[in-house]
Symmetry: C2
Amino acid sequence: MKKYKIAVIPGDGVGVEVINEGLKILNTIKEIHGGIDFEFKTFPWSCEYYLKTGKMMPKDGIKILSDFEAIYLGAVGFPGVPDHISLWGLLLPIRKEFDQYVNLRPVKLLKGIKGPLRTEKIDFVVVRENVEGEYSGTGGRLYQGTENEVAIQTAVFTRKGTERVMRYAFELAMKRNKNLISTTKSNALNYGMVFWDDIFNNLKNDYPEVETRTMHVDALSGYFLLHPENIDVVVASNLFGDILTDLGSAMQGSIGIAPGANINPEKKYPSMFEPVHGSAPDVAGKGIANPIGAIWTASMMLDHLGETDSAKLIMKALEKVTEEGIYLTKDVGGNSKTHEVGDAVNNKIKELA
Amino acid sequence: MKKYKIAVIPGDGVGVEVINEGLKILNTIKEIHGGIDFEFKTFPWSCEYYLKTGKMMPKDGIKILSDFEAIYLGAVGFPGVPDHISLWGLLLPIRKEFDQYVNLRPVKLLKGIKGPLRTEKIDFVVVRENVEGEYSGTGGRLYQGTENEVAIQTAVFTRKGTERVMRYAFELAMKRNKNLISTTKSNALNYGMVFWDDIFNNLKNDYPEVETRTMHVDALSGYFLLHPENIDVVVASNLFGDILTDLGSAMQGSIGIAPGANINPEKKYPSMFEPVHGSAPDVAGKGIANPIGAIWTASMMLDHLGETDSAKLIMKALEKVTEEGIYLTKDVGGNSKTHEVGDAVNNKIKELA
Ligand SMILES: CC(C)[C@H](C(=O)O)[C@@H](O)C(=O)O
Ligand SMILES: CC(C)[C@H](C(=O)O)[C@@H](O)C(=O)O
């Protein structure tokens, strides 16, 4: 019996609601499989926790989490707690401290889902740098509050940090259609992105089989809409990857669908699995949040843990449910409740197993 | 007889081809109007010029241009001349030296054009900060070429620079549907964008009639696809505006359609009018570039010069031509040549005048 220790941080708003569905499915997987077990431990760390304790997580939060093999996170954020507090107190430190330098975000239109684009040929992956770059948190404000105030925000790129995420993307491209786009903006960001291009141009000699392109982030955003069928793997800096993957999630019909994994490829530290969407305060509490992103994310977690067959089973069931189109939440044109969609996927898994 | 002095910089690639069509139309406007004249002076400044002279423009280029009321520019960029050279040698200095701090980019789906989105309700404007922020050109590289190399890129935001572009956006919103979205990323860019939000939150008290929202650039990118009908005016930093407007141009069916104006609202310096698209080396020389962006841009130039009726006439003719759908270039599903589309608009102007 293989046992996986998983830390569960439902977080705020719809995070709590969708993680419930993900857990339901993981428990079913466990039953069906017979040879694996999950030890879930739930942590209430969130904005609510912050409002009570003044902290997003306890001081030794990172240490506590380091005991687990994976972290399954819903979403963090709450009106009244400024984002730059809630996120720098929980999400971003976890990504950084556990060196989860790859943020993997598949962009794929599921069968039966009607996206905003006319085309349906959407199936690519964005590999986002996840611990440095524009998210270095470096900067300051001078003459604060006066009319002469100046604020600076500094992006820091390291060769090591850039190379390793690009290598990951090249390896992934080798396993897919051997086509990789590097996202740049070297025409304007004359140090950071020129550096990024230099590294990419060097590295590509190590992967002669991979066809590469370098595209400016602005042009690439447009390309996402006009030629998604020509995209296989995209590698991007932290900020560019952030923007491109939200764009990608919208292309999938709803941000509630898109999954995400924050990975430490060496498995030296736990990786964290969180859907792309946020806590969605406007939707929270109504039981209508889309659990697909969280369920898909659970599948990515199993894949990372090495449980590939179970991961595939979830995806097969998920896409059968969307294809049938009976159980869909409001954001994708249906009127099912969150738990109804979760149940439908759950039943489908049992059916297919 | 009112006379406008206009500096023409066709630039590289398709820039040259589309500017030709714009000039054709401006000449027709002059004839029809009877009371205005244009004094065009063409400058060959471009990457080709750089390859000959080692400079994108002469040393006193800015001084030369300061004699004009407007600059009409095609596109700059050429394989073999790194973008960060071609642009920092021409386009960006013009924007900065002439304090063209507003980059105005309408995003509107023209009648008869089939965009990549299912929806056709696309009609908004992006006001992009155009001289500072992420494009400050500040940064450096340490331990260059070694495995310890670090590159930094610093965005610099000033209160004055941020306030004035936001005010412009508020004023524009007042003239439109009184709805303004501020683009942020304060959850990650913990100095620059927190500052941006502070200023926006202050300023909105001065415009109580304008309904405002603050959205993270990632979420907003998705919103562009899912709810463009709910967007009226967007204000964004230099980089975010760059990305959002290329996205917007794709939503218009082709990047060849989108117009742009780099404006010094006080008219202390010349403003520059350039379509959003680049020099498109892959398309250049074939006579198939889409001139709509350049023609629409010419209309924006006339509007800026105070020739509102003529500006409107161009737009009316342009949209009639796209609606009829006979003369369209390849990028928007037709097979007309660049000059055929230009001629069609030209004839339509004469017809409508
Ligand atoms: C919440 C925010 C800090 C985060 C990010 O920008 O990384 C989110 O948008 C994401 O993409 O996971
Ligand atoms: C060419 C490039 C420097 C420029 C920019 O990023 O501003 C272009 O993309 C634009 O949008 O005008």
